[in-house]
Amino acid sequence: MQVSDGRSADGTKEQQTEFDAEPILGVSHVTKSFGAVAAISDASISLHRGEAHGLVGENGAGKSTLVKMLAGVHQPDSGQITIDGVPVTLGSPAAARDAGIAVIYQEPTMFPDLSVAENVFMGRMPRQSGGRLDRDSMRRQVITVLEMLDVRLDPDRAARGLSIADQQIAEIAKALTLDARVLVMDEPTAALSAAEVERLARVIETLRARDAAVLFISHRLDEIFNICQRVTVMRDGRSVLARPAGDLTSDELVRAMVGRDVEHRQLTRGAIGDVVLSVDRLTQEGNFVDISFELRAGEIVGLGGLVGAGRTEIAQAIFGIERYDAGSVTVAGQPLKKGSPSAAMQAGIALVPEDRRQHGLVMDESIERNVLLASLASVTRRGLIAGELARETSKTWLDRLQVKYGRLSDPVTTLSGGNQQKVVLAKWLRRNPRVIIVDEPTRGIDVGTKAEVHRLLEELAEQGVAVLVISSELPELLLLADRILVIREGRLVREIPRAAASEESVIAAAAGAYTEQAA
């Protein structure tokens, strides 16, 4: 496989004569570090008129940081961004907008009580003489844009209740009324149905026909091949490949993303022990049905499936966050009371939740208080928190997990995402759980920390902890799990042992093929 650096993007231009010589958007050799972590060490990308350009890479490869640079949220430490060949500084979101760049997020934020048209024109509503809002003009412009996109969406309806797909369309309409020429779509399809993805693909076609350039980020390679003319691959903060999509096979793409053969765990862990967690016919109406599985000491079990399949709900039901309607959970032979996180904790279960900021941490509290929040009893002496012991204990755990922090009393918001996640892990590990459930443990954290988290989970398994990993990243599941339970639409459809596990087998089960082999 030919792995090339950013320069080969220029090389491909010769083959792509249909594009203008001058890209609308040029990013060349930008870098960006957050503290000690290099999020982007050398990324280049160029977008041409009428092009849909795929950007792929594993989580943590630097795609989102690149998007934030284009959105004006982050500024590159070095390197250059050009619009029509002219260097620009995207110092703020407003500057990015003025430069003609619009970013469509996976889940747009809209004002639920305002109409679609009002949302589109938020902050710049046209006025009539006398200062009254010119609603007619607003509606007309929105209708024109929506017609052009060939999308049916009522401009007068309130945004509340719009599907994510429709919200994205509204954001695209907004971009068009702003005369954006570069549309950056950050994983727009992650939460869309197949039909919605198809509609989005048509919209992108229309945008291309109007000479706009689209940067399309997705983890789904088939979409990349269907929608994009060229692809740039990022890995570990570098753009490692830029080529016409037609010249690539999906195998080549995957190899470029991963950069190596996916390394399987070398160390053989201790023998797998007794059943510690047993879930029997767990059912929660509307979310999951008849989920049964067992977790043994020293075992890492993966919970795979599409976003929204019900994995998080299962984890939270086991831990007692939500109640379930039928079934039972048993820990080491003892039935577990439902609906009580404190009971689950007493039984030795820990849950590292998916939403770190809302559920994992009290963001405004200090690092120390967050580390200790789930285990205050252990630093309490005669009813009072022993200050010195509390500090020493949290320091020990932060050091053990190699958290980079300033002072214990700093609010946890001062930490990077990866270090915040380590604080969550520290909080749970110091309870010495016998079952630990980790829900998307490496989402949004850097490559280095990600590897550390993986190693940590493996060490826990070695020490005899039963680990349940929920991850939407297949490489992560394949790397860690001894077996993978695949959840589809709230049902456990297949159990795949490590030997038989591959991206294909998991995706096939998650998406609905091979159901006859259901476990």
Partner: protein, 339 residues
């Protein structure tokens, strides 16, 4: 402004607010001494404490409740109900101790009602406790009507006349003892830390195994008991039990707590701030009264101080809000995945 720097501004603001309270306290004392020759005297300590005593005591359970992001507006009505039950029971020959126990039990039941509706049913505490504010006072009126119960043992009625020691009035002394307990519980125990966690992020607290509902329920029960106890103290202090006791004090209680630096949004502030706030308000009232500032003018001044207390600890936040509300509405910069 990032949430990071916002957090820092807030943390610094709080440190400054408690120092600011000390400065205000000194200023009040200097003002009082300058304006009135009788201010610097033991009578000030005694009557100031007597005056602020009920508000001060009720401010403590209120502090905990506001720390968790809730509120209890029924405190003053519970004082009235405690007073009425105490008087009613005493009238019906339960003996003074029996009457006290019955009043405290009613406080617990009333608090449990608040706690049940807020913590279990999940109703907004402001609505629930406005409801019980009316209800408790109504029950008090049904019990006592316009009558006054008096004739408590003279030894107990001393608390309205004589200091307990060092010129401290009984209710104020009771407040100080209770405040010491509250200070330890809030700042030195796991329970206290959980209150802050609940106030700052209820969900994260729940995910960390904190029994959020049980905690809130307990706080309301304790509030009911302490407010009923305040009602008993009121009866003895005034040597008579009437159903109107403490009417309208709930807002003074909230004001004292907020002035002490407890954030109305929960999760911020300290007991020492509330103690300083109580002392300041008590001394100010004495000072204003000795120099004949009308109660209307006093209210304007207290109102201004209260606003100041909400604004100053949150200067950074307030400035941000005034400047850039719209920016807060901008879409989140991260929509999952990546760095």
């Amino acid at each position: 402004m990032s949430s990071e720097s916002r957090g820092r501004v807030r943390a610094r603001g709080l440190v400054r607010w408690e120092s600011a309270l000390v400065v205000i306290l000194i200023a009040v004392v200097l003002f009082g001494v300058a304006e009135s020759s009788t201010f610097w005297s033991t009578t000030t300590i005694f009557f100031g404490g007597l005056d602020i005593g009920q508000v001060a005591i009720m401010a403590l359970p209120m502090t905990m409740i506001i720390l968790t992001g809730e509120i209890d507006l029924s405190v003053a009505s519970m004082l009235g109900l405690g007073c009425a039950v105490f008087g009613y029971a005493f009238e019906h020959h339960t003996g003074v101790v029996g009457a006290m126990l019955i009043a405290l039990a009613v406080g617990a039941i009333g608090g449990a009602l608040n706690g049940f509706l807020v913590a279990r049913v999940g109703l907004p505490s402001i609505a629930v406790t406005i409801g019980t504010l009316t209800m408790f006072r109504g029950i008090a009126e049904i019990l006592l009507g316009q009558s006054e119960v008096s004739g408590f043992p003279p030894s107990l009625e001393q608390i309205g006349i004589a200091p307990i020691f060092l010129h401290l009035a009984y209710p104020f002394f009771f407040f100080l003892v209770l405040a010491a307990i509250y200070g330890v519980v809030v700042h030195r125990t796991a329970f206290g830390r959980s209150l802050y966690a609940i106030g700052l992020n209820t969900e994260a607290a729940f995910f960390a195994g904190i029994r959020v509902r049980r905690t809130k329920f307990l706080l309301y029960v304790v509030s009911g008991v302490i407010c009923a106890a305040t009602g008993i103290i009121y009866s003895l202090q005034a040597a008579s039990a009437i159903y109107t006791a403490g009417t309208g004090l709930e807002l003074n209680v909230v004001a004292v707590v907020l002035f002490g630096g407890i954030s109305i949004f929960g999760g911020r502030g300290s007991v020492i701030g509330v103690v300083l706030s109580v002392i300041i308000v008590g001394l100010t009232e004495v000072a204003f009264t000795t120099i004949n500032i009308s109660s209307q003018e006093q209210q304007v001044i207290f109102g201004g101080l209260l606003l100041l207390s909400v604004v100053v600890p949150n200067v950074g936040e307030v400035r941000n809000r005034i400047r850039g509300r719209v920016r807060r509405a901008a879409p989140p910069v991260s929509a999952g995945g990546g760095l």
